[in-house]
Symmetry: C2
Subunit: 381 residues, 2 copies
């Protein structure tokens, strides 16, 4: 049996960055995202070396006129906490190393400067994010900004970024497809809280929304990046042919739904509310993801591959798992069911998970963490 922890860890990698947005818990309290994003951090560390290696290999300083004094770097869907800071630090160190290696500034005493843009939804807790920023001004080389807004739209002027990054954000759709919430539609997602891939019409509705959102994301970044600029995307998908319901994540989401149904039976929440609770989450098939990127045509796909997670075989305590899920789903649950439901739900989830571990034997297939490096094509016309 695959380690239970890894499933939950991967689930926790997803972050809500929706147009209808339910942000991570702000502040730095015990249930905050800030204190409960260790799994995401591990995921980010697993690709730290890969980011470094691919930037060094793929960023053409001289060939693409990117031999600059100032680099502009954006993290899309940064949330709050140290993960986004680590990613940015890694990119900056890599750019410095690249310059050293090519000795491009050997005769020039102007040091490199970095303009860093932290993007997330307008209702992200930017006040907390800003307070946790390192004191960049002390080294006088890094200058930080916050950029509020959905990354499914343009956020920057044309040709204004050199390196973009997003990590574990794109399984969150901009919205739940209307039809999956509509009792009268063939795409009504009656029996699940996200796309399980069991009913083709439901899958179709989620897939269409994913393609629309992903097209918008790629089109926006294609305008914002300079020719030769790099876009790094880390995320979750399904290998072609794998059904969500056959993965650990699918099983866990099923369990969450079971707990909600139990709570409705106990009269704690309303049955209709459980019925209408549909997460805007979709794990695309690998080929769907690739198709959307290729259709845009503005980027060459330099790298697109699976990355294994370093914590795949580590066990996690129930308490830790619950804390993590609270931080991730808290906003959605409170928004939908009202306050006071979250404690009860995760209490039930914890008990169920401990008691009924055989349920995980249903999970016979694996989802996949991918790493993509895109390079904006240079218009030679």
């Amino acid at each position: 049996m695959r380690n239970f922890g890894v499933v939950l860890e991967e689930m926790a990698n997803v972050k809500p960055t929706l147009i209808q947005s339910y942000p991570m818990i702000g502040g730095d309290g015990p249930h905050s995202y800030l204190r409960n994003s260790t799994y995401q951090k591990a995921a980010i560390e697993s690709v730290r070396a890969k980011i470094k290696e691919t930037i060094l290999a793929k960023l053409g300083l001289k060939t693409t006129k990117l031999d600059l004094n100032t680099y502009k770097i954006a993290d899309f869907g940064c949330s709050v906490g140290s993960n986004t800071l680590d990613v940015i630090q890694n990119i900056i160190e890599t750019l410095k190393l690249k310059h050293q290696q090519e000795e491009t500034k050997g005769n020039n005493h102007e040091h490199l400067e970095f303009h860093v843009f932290f993007n997330d939804q307008t209702d992200n807790d930017f006040n907390t994010l800003f307070k946790t920023l390192p004191r960049y001004h002390l080294d006088r080389e890094i200058f930080a900004c916050g950029v509020p807004g959905s990354f499914y739209r343009r956020l920057f002027p044309r040709n204004s970024l050199h390196i973009g990054h997003t990590s574990n954000t794109l399984v969150w759709l901009s919205t739940t497809p209307e039809d999956v919430c509509n009792r009268n539609s063939q795409a009504w997602n009656k029996n699940s809280i996200l796309c399980t891939n069991l009913v083709e019409q439901v899958t179709e509705a989620y897939r269409n929304q994913f393609k629309k959102d992903m097209r918008a994301f790629i089109a926006a970044r294609a305008q914002e990046l300079v020719p030769g600029g790099l876009m790094i995307i880390l995320g979750l998908c399904l290998p072609d042919g794998v059904q969500m319901i056959r993965t650990w994540k699918g099983v866990v989401y099923d369990m969450i739904r079971d707990c909600l149904i139990d709570m409705a039976k106990s009269g704690i929440i309303k049955e209709e509310k459980v019925e209408s609770f549909k997460l805007p989450i979709y794990f695309p098939q690998f080929s769907e993801l690739k198709e959307v990127i290729e259709q845009n045509g503005c980027f060459s796909i330099e790298v697109m591959e699976e990355v294994k997670h370093p914590m795949e075989d580590m066990p996690f305590t129930d308490g830790f798992i619950i804390s993590m899920f609270r931080a991730m789903l808290h906003g959605f649950i409170e928004e939908h069911f009202g306050g006071g439901v979250v404690d009860e739900l995760f209490d039930r989830f914890g008990k169920k998970s401990t008691r009924d571990r055989s349920i995980y034997s249903r999970a016979s297939q694996k989802d996949m963490q991918y790493f993509i490096l895109l390079k904006k094509k240079i218009d030679r016309s």
Copy 2:
């Protein structure tokens, strides 16, 4: 007698943007800066036409290679509320008009884009600021960022801004000079809560701090603006030879101090606390201001003149004045005296001001609102 309202209005123009910072009241509650910055708005409107006129006259699109598709604009010390948005809107409209007038993009169908940077202290309420931003993404030409940090330091990479703006921020020093709080110093500011210009050693301490801060401000902007770029500064100072204590503001600050002393006598606050309450505010002499700018040498002073305020002769109600001062000084007072003092202070202030209007006859001199337009020199070497 000069209208009382105008004094208070001008006082209210000052905004704390300190390294040791006490931000404007965030949110949108009844005492928030957001709802109590009408006077500042009037001040900004009074220079709206001047900003437009001087940008049109002084920005050389072709001569300084500023004939661009994307302009970068920053408001330093923006706080929250509509004032900063109005200023930015005015600058953007003026840049569009400038392009129309010169027909520089006549044959080019790419529309202009604007990257707008809203700067204030890290503890400014950026969450509220971001929520009050217009839905810029709808017109797809304006892209907004928040920039946390003190403007007495570098906030942007070299040569990354075309137009900078700051309004009513620079009378706030980065800190209260140490000596004015030190009983054993000749510069101990025993009898006032800010610089009255009555004791030369006290004035000297404030003046030195002002020069240090203003030099840092100008030096930072000199690096951030592109050659040919413009820096607009609106603020308050004293005409040469005028003493703060002889102006309406000096009188009002004296009254606030009297109220604090009364409260100490009533046992509401401690006498030592009143003694150590010193605002980091300094109204420079006009020539001091000019001297610091000229010393830097990177800017040509294109405009530096007095601007009259359009509301100079309008009466204001006591209630309005009190609301405004609460929003402005709330942070300082709570930080220094602890919670629960603000209501009592402004209650006493209101009564005193109504009862004892003859006190204002002491104010025989006028302070001054200035407008400065600087242009970054182009290095022809």
